[in-house]
Symmetry: C2
């Protein structure tokens, strides 16, 4: 079967990518901004850690609730479809036919397909869920696992740009190290991210790097502006 070759990035990788791209970018830019405002490294560390804590919780819990909402939504639509194939089977058959009419199947074939599908209610409902409503059955425990993966990835990503500020008191100097380390990490991260998602890795790495640099430069400039320096 050739469709094994089509790319399929796993949900976990997607979660790592979500968490780490924001984790590498936002704390980096925040630290750059505060350095631009000539804050002491101590303040940068405090603000950075507060940001990482807040961001990882917000993103992790956000991911958790999104997953919960998705599975609740699936369950309620599933129940509704089961009710409908009982209550208005002819209308539901019409909807099956509609799906196939869109692919230019003949009226005759549409009818045959709809009749045959109606024989097995589970498969019928399954079809309506997937092809009429476009809903896939969410994985068990997906929400919790997703929350943890996103949260941890955010923390790991965020610690990297912040680390120089732990060791270098002068925030301006720490910023140079932070830029150097983070740029390298953004590039490497972008490279692997593009690899696993089947994109051209070099240009993908550049894109990720540019977002990070732009966000940091904008935060730096804005903070300088506010502080009138």
């Amino acid at each position: 079967m050739h469709h094994e070759h089509h790319l399929k990035s796993s949900d976990t990788i997607r979660d790592i990518v979500i968490g780490m791209s924001d984790g590498l970018t936002v704390p980096f830019a925040l630290a750059a901004g505060l350095s631009g405002a000539s804050a002491h490294s101590g303040i940068v560390v405090t603000a950075g850690i507060a940001e990482i804590v807040a961001g990882s919780i917000a993103m992790g819990l956000g991911g958790f609730l999104a997953g919960k909402t998705e599975s609740d939504h699936y369950a309620s639509e599933l129940q509704r479809e089961y009710e409908e194939v009982e209550r208005v089977p002819e209308q539901e058959k019409m909807e099956v036919k509609e799906v196939f009419a869109n692919f230019g199947l003949s009226e005759k074939l549409q009818n045959e397909v709809a009749d045959e599908m109606a024989k097995d209610k589970d498969k019928w409902v399954d079809f309506m869920m997937k092809y009429e409503l476009g809903l896939e059955k969410p994985e068990e425990n997906r929400a919790r696992q997703s929350a943890i993966t996103i949260g941890i990835s955010y923390i790991v990503g965020g610690i990297i740009p912040l680390s120089p500020y732990f060791f270098v008191d002068d925030s301006q100097r720490a910023l140079y190290y932070s830029c150097a380390i983070t740029m390298v990490c953004l590039f490497v991260f972008g490279y692997f991210k593009s690899k696993v998602t089947g994109q051209p890795p070099f240009s993908g790495a550049l894109k990720v790097l540019i977002i990070g640099a732009l966000a940091a430069a904008a935060a730096f400039g804005m903070a300088k502006l506010i502080n009138g320096k």
Copy 2:
């Protein structure tokens, strides 16, 4: 057609929700954290604005690139499917049959469907894209619009918890106002978010409120801990 009644939240609303839920939460928690570390309101404002700038760019550009990647991916898979229906039509027919076999259609009907579909290559490819690969054709200009909507929503959301720090010099006191205002906004936002996504609005509002409060409390506690107060 009853399926008009199935909920369908538009992409724009989804983007506003994405941008605003993080915008309301992360800058709020960051400001709370810095207040916990007894930073002056001036520092909180600088850090907060740096965060909002960084966050809106990171999320906005992130949304833009995600959209671009999606449409590039769609285009390349589309081309591949067109090549495959030319090069290995029998295999592609097998795949059409497989989809229908999963719904318990008879061998005979599977063959008829596959043969009829093969008559119109555009519809055939369209079918493979949607039902074999699960890819929907992305909207034109979706990426750019999504980026702008997410970015602006993040800024609007982020300004709210920060606003008291503009006017109140004592960051501890500003924090009280910020909590009051932001809690109300999180609740109202959660309420409408749940309404438009078809969730029970009251419990949805509570969930959003709890995430925000947890993130802020954690950031506050962590910042206090670092500063040993």
